[in-house]
Symmetry: C2
Subunit: 410 residues, 2 copies
């Protein structure tokens, strides 16, 4: 079984720390298989196929793949490109001309949609093509998979730096008592929620987490921060970059003080920048913000080993499935057990994936809508490798300054 | 030699990844010495002494110190506090009352000034006190020391994430071709300069580095970015948060479009946020920014081993010097050799340190004022441990799409 032909692979959407691990998995599974001829890489996703910007991956030295497996970003180049109907026809023509029989696309919802449409078009045209997508998104918003490669690594980064930011803000609380960390997340709060994974005690950071699944009122936000500051002497707040107010608009865009009309020019400030300014002007507390941006999805030092391995295995699984005759499927990760963590790979029809989004379910968000539940932590902890970085604190026994000095004898 | 009495230690100024390593060095050097009675920790620097918020560090379990050595932030709490003359008198009175004979203060310029004034006041009052400061600043702007503990670790973080950001921006260049990374640095560009340490080839990130030592004109900045984009297809720019325009003002505050009058409210946007907006509106190129903020000075996964060790040894050295009768001195790091890297610890009179700043010397900044020189790299590379993270790239041999498919035989 398995028709002879070429294999083509592409990467699409925002980069992650492990999208190259999936690429390495695809290539290393394809290299020794005698049904697969040339292994082609699309430069910048499907655009590379449309423009015939293709590279020959069999020409790479074999030793590059284990190194690429631990290199963040997309080694083939990535893109965000929405296919037109005309594109699909051209793509099919090109695949036929190049005798490509295996099509592997690593990406998120849009990429699943691309693979789905190409697979269907090939079927209609009677051209045998095996199109499989490999999930990739730090947003973790793909349905019908326990989680997506990329999420475990960003979660490990965000949970670790949140503890570090917490220690910093605690130490500096008499100077800058409020810190706001802005993390990624298109419509879902999975990344923001992961900031909680290193929290051991109620007094630890993060004290507040705001996710786009819950609208955030300015009054509510300010009250939360004020209470937290009163209780701990400082506050560490994590927000998703897309957090919205009650009107459903990005919270930084609808403040009356910053109405766009007043500017002439539409200045796009971010959520954390806006909220730290709001804290300063409404509560009179000094607030600063951190916006790691690209750093959070790229950092290799804090990548999750579980994530790197699953991403690699998902790439291999796609090639195996394609060779076994599957098409129009996304590789999925099914959780077998949380303690000890064990997963297996499966396949889901792409029509169930394309343009669908999995938001944080209600049982992962607390009643107040400003933090996560224990159920979320049980879900997410295995994905970062079982435990987040935690740091010791001093016991800090007060010294009774009224006593006389009695030097200890050694 | 060495009078019997108590030792007091404090931490001051912005936190770093290694200021606790210095604390561990101080405490572990003091613990076994029979001239030293109680070891007191000031909560939040000199404020803790003024308010008598002191803790008993001999009450900590001994095993906590190796763990604290690898914990970022300031375990005693930090502060920014400028001493008044009245404060000095009260401090001296308290030290005398508590029979403190050894005063170790870990911090930057302001802390050196504090230690200097306390040391002098004690001398004038005829009270035997040995006051030594331990350098600490990610800004690396203390004079009369080759470098300061804290710098090597932030430099390792910034150089590593710059390579990661570079790979991301290269892969996504058709979507967001300009990326601006904003890093810390009060008046000096040492941190921004360190972004260069992983650069291997001219095409690698960072393409442009702007430091506060050189005024930056908007025209010049836009021309640089445009040229870089034309040449590489993308541009990674690193700026110090305090970068200034030709008038000497922070570049984000003097743009006519964003004049404060137009707002009513004085909105403080950051340098990178401002510059990415400027690129978008003037060059029509999509630009995003990353502002790691606190994360860059706290991250332990990317701390430099050289830095952790030197910070620890500098803490030990302060106690040894104090016991040997020194006072009014800062521990300094003297470079013995760059290859292989070797340093030794020395002492510098505090009057040469207090309120002095060491900016990047001219020979470390290129002619154009938009990057560093090789001399800077030779200086800084040993401090991060000898090499920055670098990642492989594919050879990317183009595939000739006109050829026919000839499946390879395994």
């Amino acid at each position: 079984m398995g028709i002879k032909g070429r294999l083509i692979v592409g990467q699409s959407g925002g980069c992650t720390a492990v999208i190259n691990a999936s690429l390495a998995g695809v290539v290393e599974a394809a290299l020794p298989d005698d049904r697969i001829g040339d292994i082609l890489g699309m430069r910048h996703g499907i655009e590379g196929l449309l423009r015939r910007e293709l590279i020959n991956l069999r020409a790479e030295p074999a030793h590059v793949w284990p190194a690429i497996q631990r290199t963040p970003s997309a080694a083939l180049g990535s893109a965000r490109y929405k296919l037109s109907e005309g594109d699909i026809e051209r793509i099919l023509e090109t695949l036929r001309e190049l005798d490509v029989r295996y099509f592997v696309y690593i990406g998120g919802n849009d990429s699943a949609d691309t693979a789905h449409r190409i697979s269907r078009a090939a079927e209609h045209a009677g051209y045998e093509l095996h199109a499989i997508s490999v999930p990739k998104t730090i947003d973790n918003d793909l349905p019908h998979t326990d989680h997506s490669p990329g999420y475990g690594s960003i979660a490990r980064f965000v949970s670790t730096v949140t503890q570090e930011i917490g220690l910093d803000t605690e130490a500096m609380r008499r100077v800058d008592p409020v810190k706001i960390l802005e993390v990624m997340g298109r419509d879902a709060g999975w990344v923001a929620a992961s900031a909680s994974l290193g929290k051991q005690r109620p007094s630890d950071a993060p004290h507040l987490i705001y996710m786009p699944e819950r609208p955030l009122s300015r009054e509510r936000f300010l009250r939360d921060v004020q209470e937290c500051h009163a209780q701990h002497g400082y506050a560490v707040v994590v927000v998703t970059e897309t957090v919205r107010d009650e009107t459903g608009e990005s919270i930084a865009r609808t403040d009356p003080v910053f109405s766009q009309d007043a500017f002439g020019h539409r200045y796009l400030t971010g959520a954390a920048s806006y909220l730290s300014d709001l804290v300063a002007r409404e509560l009179g507390l000094r607030a600063r913000f951190d916006k790691p941006g690209t750093i959070q999805r790229m950092n290799m030092a804090l990548a999750s080993e579980v994530d790197v391995n699953e991403a690699y295995m998902a790439g291999r699984h796609a090639v195996r499935a394609a060779l076994e005759g599957e098409t129009d499927r996304m590789v999925s990760i099914e959780r077998v057990s949380s303690q000890p963590y064990e997963s297996r790979l499966g396949l889901v029809p792409l029509e169930h994936i394309a343009n669908q989004q999995k938001l944080l379910p209600d049982e992962y968000i607390n009643q107040e809508g400003n933090h996560v539940t224990e159920a979320f932590r049980e879900y997410a902890l295995p994905l970062i490798g079982g435990e987040a970085a935690t740091y010791p604190r001093l016991r800090a026994v007060p010294f009774a300054t009224l006593g006389s000095s009695v030097p200890a004898e050694a």
